[in-house]
């Protein structure tokens, strides 16, 4: 047998290799637990799982509808639960895809500048419509749609620009791409800070900008759900076109091309799908960091490196992770509840640091 010291993170060695189905089943269970927790969050403790179940049955006419007030509450929680699951799945898939394109376990939407681009787009839109306040709460008016379009456009423009600048000799060069991403993040950060300092003059606008930065899963409706769902569906179609190829790309671009992989096309498809997912998530709920980084990382430990397993598992894992973390935080802290972006930073940050500590030997080899 091998010495444990020689073993890096996730070699699928015999005996340790598991089929993805057991893990998938576990994640489905976790997802259900998270959904259950999420459906029972709130001040009306009497509206519990039974009410949620009855409401579901009532949709099909198999049960009497709930009283209007209860139905309203259950509806809000459904929206929140579904959106949380979709956003978690989209962010994790985005991270998984980017890690494959970069051949780097630490890649994330934030490295490319996708997140910063989305934030900038959203901030410009918030500034333009003069705040995110009541119009959004009621789900009315053009303001939320504009803000989401702004975020989407910002993310897409920045990612495509970075990918374009990162091309060398007609091919995407990974080191160049990473450096361009870092520079782009710095530039965007400066512009964002400028906008925020301007906005301090107007309390309503400043508040909206800050709220965006922390992320929010509250008060969202079918528009946001549809946006993330569509993005996720499109990205899902990309998985079969890139998963095997991302595995082969692990041994280097030139080597992958020599055995017949169309590397440029694979990288372009994966990059677009990842951007779409990240942009839709940020546009719908604001910034939630670390999901795209931590979830693929944990799954790699559990299931091995193959993207054919990793990418589909990211969908389940991301949804379960964000649901469980966000809902338990709300149950535990009660009225003191944290914004999801804050929770993820508090939970994900230290966890990520631990991963790095455990992985230091490998990092040195970069």
């Amino acid at each position: 047998m091998k010495s444990p010291g020689l073993q890096s993170d996730s070699v699928p060695t015999p005996g340790q290799t598991r089929g993805p189905w057991g893990l998938a089943l576990g994640l489905v269970l976790l997802l259900l637990v998270g959904a259950g927790l999420s459906m029972t969050v709130g001040t009306r403790a009497d509206v519990g799982l039974a009410a949620a179940f009855r409401s579901l049955m009532a949709q099909f006419g198999w049960a009497d509808p709930l009283p209007a007030a209860d139905a309203w509450i259950v509806g809000l929680r459904w929206d929140r639960t579904v959106l949380t699951a979709l956003v978690g799945a989209a962010l994790a898939l985005s991270g998984g895809l980017l890690q494959g394109v970069f051949r780097n376990d630490l890649a994330a939407p934030s490295i490319l500048g996708t997140t910063a681009g989305a934030s900038l787009g959203a901030s410009v839109a918030i500034l333009a419509v003069g705040g995110y306040g009541l119009a959004s709460l009621a789900g009315l008016g053009p303001a939320p749609v504009l803000i989401e379009l702004g975020a989407f456009a910002g993310a897409a423009i920045v990612t495509l620009t970075v990918a374009w600048l990162g091309r060398v000799d007609g091919r995407v060069s990974v080191p160049t791409l990473l450096l361009v991403g870092i520079a782009m993040n710095a530039v965007l950060g400066g512009i964002l800070a400028a906008i925020q300092s301007f906005a301090l003059a107007d309390f309503e606008v400043a508040k909206a900008l800050f709220a965006w930065g922390f992320g929010s899963l509250d008060d969202k409706g079918s528009a946001e759900i549809a946006m993330v769902a569509v993005a996720l569906f499109v990205a899902l179609l990309a998985i079969p076109a890139v998963a095997r190829e991302l595995d082969l790309l692990e041994s280097g671009e030139e080597d992958a091309r020599s055995i017949g992989v169309h590397t440029g096309r694979v990288q372009a498809i994966a990059l677009l799908a990842a951007t779409l997912c990240a942009a839709a998530s940020v546009a719908a709920v604001g910034q939630i960091a670390f999901v795209g980084l931590v979830v693929p990382h944990i799954l790699r430990w559990a299931s091995g490196r193959s993207y054919r397993r990793l990418l589909p598992l990211c969908l389940l894992g991301g949804a379960a992770f964000l649901l469980v973390v966000d809902a338990s935080q709300r149950h535990l802290l009660g009225s003191l509840r944290l914004r999801p972006g804050v929770t993820m930073s508090l939970v994900g940050g230290p966890f990520f640091l631990l991963l790095l500590m455990a992985d230091r030997r490998r990092l040195r080899a970069w």
Binding site: P12, R244, G252, R308
Partner: protein, 270 residues
């Protein structure tokens, strides 16, 4: 008996961006049934030539044809079905099982499916993978991660992948670099076995003495140009080698008759 041209290069010149040309007008033919070795001093452009011949680099001038088709016009999968390349190591050794790495050689043959075929199946692909691993002696480590293997073992895994690719043309870049003498002979014997019928092998090597015992032709590449191209006995001669290497060589022959050229301390004139 040599057959039709499988790979032909005419007037290849190539320079990495912003550098001096590495190849300066290389002509080369590889015919079915042939085994050819390219040798030359360090920096002669051997590995670059192999990259251009494999279609991984576009030559600045000249062209490579696989049969009647221009190599660069072929889509990657189609190209990989015609030309297999055994690289000189990998940029990055992935954490994959030996068997999975060898399966990479079948990528260009497998129709797009999300889940890979089961290696235990009786498909052509599985057979090719198993045969390649048996031939190269990789079978005992099929379940292990390539990262755990030694340099020599890794070289044999890359050879197995190139064999599994099952292309008419096999290009091998320094395939015996980390092998002991017995393994060097075994690797060359495997490559020699490949170079028959409708297939051909071109190998880049430093070891002209080893190559001379196996190949049909030796190509001497120096400063990006072909200085000699012929049977080993015609190429490994003082008139050909001394202009490049100086008079530091001893010329003899193996018991079997193959030429033998060794560095000779007493012949040095400096």
């Amino acid at each position: 008996m040599v057959g039709p041209n499988l790979l032909s290069a005419r007037g290849l010149t190539f320079a990495y961006p912003g550098r001096e040309p590495v190849l300066r007008g290389v002509d080369l033919d590889l015919r079915a049934g042939e085994m050819v070795a390219v040798f030359g001093p360090n920096g002669a452009g051997k590995s670059t030539l192999l990259r251009v011949l494999a279609g991984l680099r576009q030559p600045d001038q000249g062209a490579v044809h696989a049969g009647s088709e221009a190599l660069m016009s072929l889509p990657p999968r189609e190209r990989a079905r015609r030309i297999a390349r055994m690289p000189q190591g990998l940029d990055h050794w992935p954490d994959t099982r030996v068997e999975d790495l060898v399966w990479g050689g079948r990528y260009c043959h497998i129709e797009r499916r999300f889940w890979p075929g089961s290696p235990s199946g009786a498909s052509t692909d599985a057979q090719a993978v198993t045969r390649a691993m048996q031939r190269t002696g990789c079978e005992p480590w099929r379940e292990r991660s390539v990262r755990e293997l030694s340099g020599g073992q890794r070289e044999r895994v890359l050879l197995a992948r190139a064999l599994a690719q099952d292309a008419p043309v096999l290009l091998a870049d320094e395939p015996t670099r980390s092998l002991d003498p017995a393994q060097q002979l075994e690797t060359f014997a495997i490559l020699r076995g490949r170079a028959a019928g409708t297939r051909a092998v071109l190998v880049v090597t430093h070891d002209w003495n080893l190559a001379a015992q196996f190949v049909d032709r030796l190509i001497f590449l120096a400063q990006g140009q072909v200085l000699a191209d012929g049977e080993p006995g015609q190429v490994l001669r003082p008139e050909v080698l001394e202009p490049v290497y100086g008079r530091a060589l001893h010329f003899g022959s193996m018991p079997g008759g193959a030429p033998l050229v060794l560095p000779d301390r007493s012949a040095r004139t400096d």
